[in-house]
């Protein structure tokens, strides 16, 4: 039975702790999130932030240590089977089926896991393969597909049961730019026009979250730092100044900026091919930025270019955490 709920997905003070012999890790730290019906909700954060842990709890693969989570009005811990009837999970980079079976055979098999009749399954499989543009691979063995087509198969598998809530865990991981774009477009169409379903998407690609999501929650080390529409999140940064500076070195140390008053945060992207580093610095006002430039010149670094940047979701992350996603990966 499906009835109008206030929220399609709701978590309250969700905590998940992993214990091993060597260490204890708090993967989720009092996460409270509410997602409405028909919403495309993004969970954005670096690797190890807790995104997959969160999605595993909501898809009944993991129990929370404490707190509550409801999907479609059902408690994920106590009413797992009811949750499973209305959801689907598509994980990027995962094996979407059996290598020895063809694409259509794999899809037929998975349709049976959701109790579809063979005739309905055949129609749905044909439609999905046409919509996702890989009908010519129907009889190809899955082991022979490229990564892009495997992921299309994965997505088709996830949509077979026409879920009310679709969970996407890094769905474009490992895909090329064009395939990723097509996939994102398809998911938005599915959610907004075709099915009017709810989507919870985890990603560490900011452009993806920006492009697809009605709202985005930024997560870091298990905690939600901010949650709002991408536009609103970026608007909040307008009072700050974001400058992009390219310098002629990949070895310089920029940690002095961490101690500078008025520097909210910064990120760095090093390019070994061009031997340059692109810094993105967020400051309270332009006078502080001139002090940053002076410090860079003291290190005898050649400034190749300076320009003002529009705030992005990464800047939102930097303003909250003080560092970019790249630093997170190294720490």
């Amino acid at each position: 039975m499906w009835f109008k709920l206030q929220y399609c997905i709701e978590t309250k003070d969700l905590v998940r702790i992993f214990k091993s012999k060597d260490q204890t890790v708090k993967a989720l730290d009092n996460v409270s999130v509410s997602i409405g019906e028909g919403e495309i909700f993004g969970l954005l954060g670096p690797n190890g932030a807790g995104k997959t842990t969160f999605i595993k709890i909501l898809t009944t693969l993991l129990l929370p240590t404490s707190g509550e989570a409801h999907v479609g009005g059902f408690n994920v811990a106590k009413e797992s089977n009811k949750v499973r009837k209305i959801i689907s999970l598509v994980s990027g980079g995962e094996t979407p089926g059996y290598g020895i079976l063809s694409v259509s055979e794999n899809l037929w098999f998975f349709s049976q896991l959701y109790g579809l009749s063979s005739s309905t399954a055949k129609e749905e499989i044909k439609r999905l393969m046409t919509d996702l543009n890989f009908e010519e691979y129907a009889k190809t063995r899955m082991s022979r597909l490229s990564t892009g087509y495997k992921q299309r198969l994965n997505l088709a598998r996830g949509l077979l049961n026409n879920p009310k809530i679709l969970f996407l865990d890094e769905p474009t991981l490992g895909l090329d730019v064009l395939t990723s774009k097509k996939m994102r477009g398809y998911i938005v169409d599915w959610a907004k026009k075709e099915r009017k379903g709810t989507v919870l998407l985890t990603t560490h690609y900011m452009a993806e979250a920006d492009e697809m999501c009605d709202r985005v929650a930024i997560i870091d080390r298990g905690r939600i730092l901010a949650c709002d529409s991408p536009l609103t999140l970026k608007e909040k940064l307008k009072e700050n100044v974001i400058m992009r500076v390219e310098v002629s070195s990949v070895q310089a140390d920029f940690s002095f900026m961490e101690k500078m008053t008025g520097v909210i945060g910064f990120s760095q992207t090093r390019s070994i091919q061009t031997d340059t580093t692109t810094l993105k610095v967020m400051v309270r006002d332009e006078s502080i930025f001139s002090k940053v430039l002076a410090k860079l010149e003291e290190q005898k670094l050649k400034i190749l270019s300076i320009n003002k940047a529009e705030p992005t979701l990464e800047d939102v992350y930097i303003s909250l955490v003080g560092r970019g996603f790249e630093e997170e990966a190294g720490s």
């Binding site: 693969l61 089977n81 995962e94 094996t95 079976l101 055979e105 098999f109 896991l113 109790g115």
Partner: protein, 269 residues
């Protein structure tokens, strides 16, 4: 309830279909399964012949070899299935779907029965014609009943082991390996168990295969009837009645434990 049953039967059929389809995609196993199962059995048959043992011992070996093919099917196609799915990355897809775990296991085991049955038939036929095993089937229905109950009890035991495999990685894999030769020995796959010391026989009585093998041998090799093997039938029914609910409980328990400890879909552990 009816809808759920039909749904789960579809799952059984679908998993069975995948298994059978996959097997016939690479049919190299067919030639191997027609000849090779006889090899170890032949060694034991020749050993009995060298010792001048009566011909009924040849029958013991042949029946034992036939039945352990089914035990191997249970062990590797059913018990190890969740471990297998986890390692190939498809377990998550099953666990998120609204289906019975036992349906998946049953489908896989039934799918494996195609090559298991072929193997068993080859052993039985070759054993009879090449080694002149003295097989006498006075009560074929009794033999079939015995066989059916043995397989059912083994499947229930297999589901119970599958719950361990769901959570544990290589430990469970090696535990399954450990359940081959020791079970063959304890259940008397190649010799009558009444020759074993009492405490060993007691241990063997916890294995459904022991009662199944003994019963089938007595019917097919020694020509006994249902009146003589009723105790074996009762024992197998008890196994079935106890093991199936235990397996369901264990599967639920281990799944929840895996979800609590975060190890359910963790590979390479």
């Amino acid at each position: 309830m009816h809808e759920q049953l039909v749904h789960n039967l579809k799952v059984v059929y679908a998993r069975l279909w995948v298994r059978v389809k996959g097997e016939f995609r690479e049919p190299e196993w067919i030639a191997a399964d027609l000849v090779i199962p006889l090899l170890t059995l032949s060694a034991y048959v020749y050993l009995y012949k060298m010792l001048n043992a009566p011909s009924e011992f040849t029958g013991f070996v042949i029946i034992g070899g036939t039945m352990i093919a089914f035990w191997a099917n249970v062990l590797w196609n059913m018990s190890a299935q969740f471990y297998w799915e986890k390692e190939t990355g498809t377990l998550e897809i099953y666990l998120v779907a609204p289906i019975s775990r036992m349906a998946i296991l049953l489908g896989m085991a039934l799918g494996g029965i195609v090559n298991t049955t072929l193997r068993a038939v080859v052993i039985l036929v070759a054993g009879t014609f090449i080694f002149q095993a003295p097989l006498v089937i006075n009560e074929p229905l009794t033999a079939l009943l015995m066989f059916f109950l043995t397989i059912t009890a083994l499947y229930a035991l297999g589901m119970l082991f599958a719950s361990l495999f769901m959570l544990y990685g290589r430990e469970a894999w090696h535990t399954a390996s450990l359940l081959q030769e020791p079970v063959y020995f304890l259940s008397g796959s190649y010799f009558p168990t009444n020759s074993l010391p009492f405490f060993v026989q007691l241990l063997a009585s916890f294995i459904p295969l022991t009662f199944g093998l003994d019963g089938i041998r007595r019917v097919i090799v020694q020509g006994e009837g249902i009146a003589n093997i009723w105790l074996n039938l009762v024992a197998l029914v008890i196994f079935i009645v106890v093991l199936f609910p235990l397996a369901k409980f264990a599967l639920n328990y281990m799944e929840n434990l895996g979800k609590k400890e975060g190890r359910l879909t963790l590979r390479w552990q």
